[in-house]
């Protein structure tokens, strides 16, 4: 799954010189850059759908970098990878940042090489995640096209049950099961049960438990 848009790097720092120099650095590495003076300004931006990452100073007047991290995590939209930079490093802060899922935590003045390497990692991660997200969205879209009965059959097929068993559980004939099964495979665009299982896993389809199985037998 490839993502079409080019990555955009977002820089959030209240210091003008730092913003300007960071823009230069990241721009010189070939990325598109957008800079913001505060977390609020960043949140108010028009979000682009493509991949990217966020470089943000931990301590700023107003909303701090960590608070921004929490705000983004709470939001429904695209959770961009975050790289933290700080003029005042302390261990508890960095731990909180990493636990919150940050890609890296750099103390000013940092080595530009380290920053660019972190940006590379972050973008790659975002591309992957976006790809995954898209994938999941597609699978769910397919699942949504299944009828309730097809859904039931789907759920049981992925447990490895035979058509006969499925028929028994659902109270329908084996032939009917076969028909539903074929339709499910078609709608889900799966070429094998194994693939169906993977798609189910991706979509988070709930699988019936062992207990139901014994009940049938």
């Amino acid at each position: 799954m490839t993502v079409a848009a080019a990555p955009v790097i977002y820089v959030v720092d209240d210091d003008a010189s730092v913003r300007k120099s960071l823009t230069r650095v990241i721009g010189s590495a070939g990325y598109a850059v957008e800079a913001f003076a505060s977390a609020r300004e960043f949140l108010a931006r028009d979000a682009s759908p493509g991949p990217g990452c966020l470089i943000v100073d931990v301590r700023m007047p107003g909303l701090s970098g960590l608070e921004l991290q929490d705000a983004l995590a709470a939001g429904a939209r695209h959770r961009m990878p975050i790289i933290f930079i700080t003029g005042h490093g302390d261990v508890p802060m960095s731990v909180q940042a990493m636990k919150g899922g940050a890609v890296d935590f750099l103390t000013k003045p940092f080595d530009v090489e380290n920053l660019l390497e972190a940006v590379q990692r972050a973008v790659a991660k975002d591309v992957h995640e976006l790809g995954t997200e898209q994938e999941i969205a597609e699978v769910l879209a397919r699942v949504a096209t299944l009828t309730p009965r097809e859904m039931e059959v789907f759920a049981l097929v992925v447990t490895g049950r035979l058509n006969k068993q499925i028929g028994g559980e659902l109270g329908i004939g084996e032939k009917t099961v076969k028909v539903h099964r074929a339709r499910v495979m078609d709608k889900m665009r799966a070429s094998s049960v194994a693939e169906l299982v993977r798609l189910a896993d991706r979509a988070g389809v709930i699988v019936p438990t062992q207990r139901d199985r014994t009940k049938v037998q």
């Binding site: 210091d15 010189s17 120099s21 650095v25 010189s28 701090s64 003029g87 000013k108």
Partner: protein, 462 residues
């Protein structure tokens, strides 16, 4: 002789005797009257003399008491002027031509002096000064009276036209703190014996008091300055964090820019315009860093006390700039609410910065334990005027002051924190008191406390 002649003789003799007696009596009466009159005259003269002397005495007492009151109210700034005025009055009163006050400092051979008019250098009276410093009165009515050992002194007198002079040592608590020197240049003046000198001694006492008080105040000021310096140095830990944070920004920018420039140099073609722009930014950030260091250095410098006209708004803003790094690190928003028409006050910039610094650091500490659960944290520094005073308030949203601590917090070495000397508030109070102001603290109704100090606005300030 017949009895008749005898009787005539006897009668005549009697008359003669009686007449003689009468004459003698009359003469005696006349003598007595004359004596009485001359006694009366004498008494009258004496009374006149007494009245004159009483009037003189009264005038002297008046002079003395007005000198005392002038010096008991004197401010350090005004001291020189007061001394000059006093010397002139004494010179006029005692009808001499020159007056001079000398100040000796312990352990220091140099001598300060105030004079009613320009005169010879004091170094030119080595003999006299040496004796006066030992506590002796040195006087001469004629220059010739000076001994051979005082040859230099004699030469000076001749050169300056001094005809007679008296130098009275001024002692406080057994130590000679100075001398009062009166000289004539027109006539030779006979200095009176002890009781006349008593007047000089009394006058001398005023100066002795004034000098010793000046020295004490000087010492007190010096100690206060030391204390303020100690306070600044102990605040350094906090300031260092602020400094590091402030410096990191330009340093980061410089490093970023330099690395980009390095890459650009390797690229073809070389974008000169961009290189110039990068270098400009590097230079600007470097200057910014230098400024930050300057600001901190100015605060930590140990300077002499200098009372100048100050705008408290400017002073508060400067301290705010110094501590913004600290505030950001702690995540405490700092707000300045400055009255636009705040009148100026008189004070020492360094010391008053110290006061504001201590109060803000104190507020930071009050809020440090609280964290996210304690509600909204904020710090506000506010200035305003109540007509007679300029007031600065530092309001925090911290834990507030416990009832039992309210009186104690300004005591030296009192601290509720695990670190720190506990000197910050005591130093602040000492400084504010010395400036004629008041420093206090009150708990806020909505949590936290406000520390406030007021400074008097000089009447002549616009």
């Amino acid at each position: 002789m017949t009895s008749q002649h005898f009787w005539w003789f006897a009668t005549a003799a009697t008359v003669i005797v009686v007449q003689a007696c009468v004459i003698v009596r009359l003469l005696a009466i006349r003598l007595a009257r004359r004596r009485a009159r001359s006694i009366q005259e004498e008494r009258g003269l004496e009374r006149q003399r007494m009245e004159v002397s009483l009037a003189e005495r009264l005038a002297f007492e008046k002079l003395l008491s007005s000198l005392w009151s002038a010096f008991s109210n004197v401010l350090t700034d005004d001291f020189d002027r007061q001394v000059q005025e006093a010397l002139h009055r004494i010179v006029a009163f005692l009808d001499v031509d020159r007056g001079c006050l000398l100040e000796f400092t312990r352990d220091d051979p140099t001598v300060r002096s105030w004079m009613t008019q320009a005169g010879p250098d004091l170094g030119d009276f080595p003999w006299s000064i040496a004796r006066v410093r030992r506590g002796d009165i040195v006087s001469f009515s004629r220059v010739d009276e000076l001994p051979d050992a005082a040859a230099v002194d004699r030469a000076t007198c001749d050169a300056a036209g001094i005809t007679s002079q008296i130098a009275v040592p001024l002692a406080v608590g057994g130590a000679v703190v100075g001398a009062l020197v009166l000289s004539t240049t027109k006539v030779e003046r006979a200095w009176q014996a002890d009781e006349g000198n008593q007047g000089l001694h009394l006058l001398g006492e005023v100066f002795a008091y004034a000098l010793s008080r000046k020295q004490v105040e000087h010492e007190a000021q010096r100690l206060r300055q030391e204390l303020a310096h100690i306070g600044r140095v102990s605040a350094m830990g906090e300031l260092t964090a602020s400094l590091a944070h402030e410096l990191n920004q330009p340093l980061t920018a410089i490093l970023n820019n330099a690395e980009v420039a390095r890459r650009f140099l390797a690229a073809e073609p070389l974008d000169l315009a961009e290189m110039c722009a990068i270098l400009d930014d590097i230079i600007a950030d470097d200057k910014r860093a230098a400024e930050v260091i300057q600001r901190f250095r100015r605060l930590l410098k140990k300077g002499d006390i200098e009372y100048v006209s100050l705008d408290l708004n400017v002073l508060v803003s400067e301290v705010g700039r110094l501590l913004i790094g600290n505030a950001v690190i702690r995540g405490i928003p700092m707000r300045l609410d400055l009255a636009p028409d705040l009148p100026r006050v008189r004070g020492d910039r360094g010391q008053l910065q110290q006061v504001v610094l201590n109060l803000v650091l104190n507020a930071f500490d009050a809020m440090s334990g609280m964290g996210a659960g304690g509600g909204v944290q904020n710090l506000t520094i506010r200035t305003h005027c109540d007509g007679a005073h300029a007031i600065v308030e530092v309001r925090d949203s911290g834990t507030g002051i416990a009832e039992k601590d309210v009186d104690q917090i300004f005591e030296p070495l009192y601290t509720t924190k695990s670190e720190g000397l506990g000197m910050g508030l005591a130093i602040a109070r000492t400084i504010v008191d010395a400036h004629g102001g008041r420093l206090g603290a009150t708990n806020n109704g909505d949590g936290g406390a406000t520390f406030h100090f007021s400074l008097p606005v000089p009447h002549s300030a616009t």
